[in-house]
């Protein structure tokens, strides 16, 4: 009897839910999926910018902070967007694990939706087969360019921090191998160091603390002309601080962007006129680095990659839906990317899938205390 009453209530609820719902719509919508700011501010703000620009046309949802464990939620968020018949394109940045599964599920009911991914975490070949278009910084190229930049900045050694979970990602593992090769070619000693996994049970603080302790040790051992690099986002702040304190070289973050790591590490003051103003932020970082004696040893890309990727993806999605371009048109894609970035970009396809739309991008670097801001 009691069970019956509860059962009845559940049914009543589901029926009432049907009654409650009902949506009016513009011509079409684009869904954006990003993490929270604590996972990375760039992509979140990119989505906010698009929301501000296009208003109701954009539906912005979030994947969980501990996306590694909560795949189901990521999938639900993506399929949730696809459930809206007006949604014609979905942008996922970063494309965390679960995205491929979600796309497959959506395809079964909504084959018309196009998926544009930024920074996919899953196997590139798998992603290339599933998504309509993917962007990733060109890890293999960066394997070469970062080491070259380090050399240019005066590095004699190259230190690469990572941990098992990241080295279980084929692209990152491959990049490390390429870096090693390139370093050897340039006569630089390549050092691979293991750090604790920030997704492990002692979390981000444990990983960051390790970096703070380990960098002085390494600098003492190998000397100041050592370039520091880490595959993990949360390690960038301690890495930058340690590099500044010890006088080491920091050629590029894992995800190249002026807003990634630098503002927090430098304790940058964000005044009202600086908000979202990339050139102003770059200049402020430059001033801070120079002031702290890091001139000519720190560099990054002039654009926040994930920030601009969201914008580029949305524009590409719009133009594709409206029939103004083809996703496989590399030049058209590049044009929109450069428009969003307002700096020149290099773009190529994933070598393993020359006929897929998995694009790899690289940008030039700016060196603080050397270039003009």
């Amino acid at each position: 009897m009691r069970k019956f009453v509860i059962g009845l209530l559940v049914v009543a609820f589901l029926v009432s839910a049907i009654g409650v719902v009902g949506t009016a719509a513009p011509a079409y919508k684009i869904g954006i999926v990003t993490g929270t700011v604590s996972q990375g501010e760039d992509e979140y703000r990119g989505a906010e910018k698009m929301k501000a620009k296009y208003g109701d046309m954009i539906k912005h949802v979030i994947y969980p902070d501990n996306f590694m464990q909560e795949q189901e939620t990521t999938i639900a968020q993506i399929t949730g967007l696809a459930a809206d018949p007006d949604v014609k394109a979905i942008v996922v940045n970063q494309a965390v694990p679960g995205t491929v599964a979600a796309i497959r599920q959506v395809r079964e009911i909504r084959p018309d939706i196009i998926f544009l991914l930024g920074v996919p975490h899953e196997d590139p070949e798998l992603v290339s087969d599933t998504a309509d278009l993917s962007f990733e910084t060109d890890q293999e190229r960066r394997g070469v360019t970062i080491v070259q930049l380090a050399k240019e900045l005066g590095a004699e050694k190259f230190l690469h921090y990572s941990f098992p979970r990241h080295m279980a990602m084929p692209l990152l593992a491959k990049r490390a191998d390429i870096m090693k090769e390139e370093a050897e070619r340039l006569g630089i000693e390549f050092i691979f160091a293991t750090a604790p996994d920030p997704m492990g049970e002692y979390g981000i603080p444990g990983a960051q603390q390790f970096i703070l302790e380990d960098v002085p040790r390494q600098v003492e051992k190998y000397g100041k002309n050592i370039a520091l690099f880490s595959t993990n986002c949360s390690m960038q702040e301690p890495l930058i601080i340690s590099a500044l304190n010890t006088g080491a070289i920091f050629p590029e973050q894992c995800c190249p962007s002026p807003t990634h790591g630098y503002p927090a590490a430098l304790g940058l003051e964000i005044t009202d006129e600086m908000k979202g103003n990339i050139p102003a932020i770059l200049k402020a970082i430059n001033d801070a680095i120079v002031e702290k004696g890091g001139a000519g040893r720190f560099a990054t890309w002039p654009v926040p990659t994930n920030y601009l990727l969201v914008e580029a993806c949305v524009e590409i999605a719009r133009d594709t839906i409206e029939g103004k371009m083809e996703l496989s048109d590399l030049d058209a894609v590049k044009a929109r990317l450069e428009a969003a970035a307002s700096v020149p970009m290099e773009l190529r396809r994933l070598p393993e899938k020359p006929d897929g739309n998995f694009y790899l991008l690289t940008s030039g670097s700016v060196v603080f205390g050397r270039d003009e801001f």
Binding site: T36, V37, S38, E41, D42, Y44, R45, E48, D65, N66, F163, P164, A193, T194, A195, P196, D197, G200, E201, Y202, G203, I204, P205, G206, Q208, Q209, F210, L212, E213, D214, R217, E220, S234, E237, P238, I241, T259, P263, A264, A265, L266, G267, L268, E269, I270, T271, D272, M274, K275, G276, I281, P304, Y307
Partner: protein, 346 residues
């Protein structure tokens, strides 16, 4: 005399002997591979100093009979709020550090009291409920960090210009104030008198507390609630006091941790804060019913030294990084060992 000897052996215990042995192997390896042993020891001491008070926060709850404080994130969050207010107000250096504590402690007292009221109503499930209360309060605070009316331009996000950054640099405020205070060197080992002294000071304070009338009442309530009742002690109140004390220590602990670390970590960072502290005190030989300051010191030293040295040393010797996984297995294995060993507790 033999009794004493037996007692000492029992005090040290097999797990501690094992870890100490493992550490010895690590240091020998470090020496052979040409790593700077004094440097490793200095780093370990910093870790001990920065984590010690968080471990110490376990003592009051164990002593008053509530068990391990899985709700430690509550106190940590109070500490973070205190630390933030101090930054927002622009306090710098030692005043900033003490202002952070001054803001955090009253908050921790209130939160600790409310937490104790909750735990009182879920007697027998304290550890489970504590774990989840800790988790969910972290999520609530995530919303707070995003919405909180902090205006200091050094604290807010770069592009959005609102909400608190996930990592706040303390360098310009009270970063390392303790670490850089009264630093001296013995045999090449750099020791921060400020940091270690502060930790030992708190050990002493807690030790003295358990020698006061109130502290003894709390110990009694934890050791045997019926005895305590018959001695005119209000057992419920003692539990309250113990939980409040633990929360306050956690709040102070995270501020010490943060100043040493150089950052305030917001958002999901406090989620798992309780686990290393719990592992440390259990490794130190505490049980679910009884914990002493000595357990805290031994546990913190062993556990943090293990964490600090195992990774850099082993990654020199073996390619790959089995040490990261080994650490996972050892620390959880220790907690498991403690849970399956301590008898009599219901």
């Amino acid at each position: 005399m033999t009794d004493k000897l037996k007692q000492t052996v029992e005090h040290i215990g097999i797990p501690r002997l094992m870890i100490a042995g493992f550490l010895a192997v690590i240091f020998v390896t470090a020496y052979i591979t040409g790593m700077s042993v004094p440097q490793l020891l200095s780093d370990s001491l910093v870790r001990v100093g920065m984590n010690g008070i968080l471990v110490l926060a376990m003592v009051p709850t164990i002593s008053c009979g509530v068990g391990l404080n899985f709700g430690l994130p509550l106190g940590v969050l109070c500490g973070l709020v205190g630390g933030l207010i101090s930054m927002e107000r622009g306090f710098v250096g030692f005043p900033g550090f003490f202002a952070a504590i001054a803001f955090a402690v009253p908050l921790a007292v209130v939160v600790g009291y409310l937490y104790s009221v909750l735990l009182e109503s879920v007697k027998g499930q304290e550890m489970m409920v504590g774990t989840y209360v800790g988790f969910s309060s972290v999520a609530v605070m995530c919303i707070f960090w995003l919405m909180a009316p902090f205006r200091n331009p050094e604290l807010i996000w770069a592009i959005g210009g609102k909400g608190l950054r996930s990592t706040l640099t303390l360098g310009n405020y009270y970063g390392k104030v303790l670490n850089n205070f009264a630093v001296f060197e013995i045999f090449g080992i750099k020791i921060s008198g400020g940091l270690i002294g502060f930790f030992l000071l708190f050990c002493l304070l807690v030790y003295l507390f358990f020698r006061t009338k109130l502290g003894i009442a709390m110990l009694t309530a934890g050791a045997n609630p019926v005895f305590a009742k018959s001695a005119g002690i209000d057992v419920r109140r003692m539990k309250s006091v113990g939980i409040i004390a633990s929360t306050v220590l956690a709040a102070i602990g995270i501020i010490v941790y943060a100043q040493s670390y150089g950052f305030l970590q917001l958002y999901m960072a406090p989620l798992m804060m309780a686990f290393p502290a719990i592992a440390a005190i259990l490794i130190g030989g505490a049980s679910l019913q009884r914990a002493t300051i000595l357990n805290v010191i031994i546990g913190t030293v062993l556990f943090q030294t293990l964490l600090t040295t195992a990774l850099p040393v082993t990654s020199r010797v073996i390619q790959g990084d089995i040490s990261e996984v080994a650490r996972l297995i050892i620390s959880n294995g220790m907690i498991l060992y403690a849970l399956t060993r301590s008898t009599g507790g219901k």
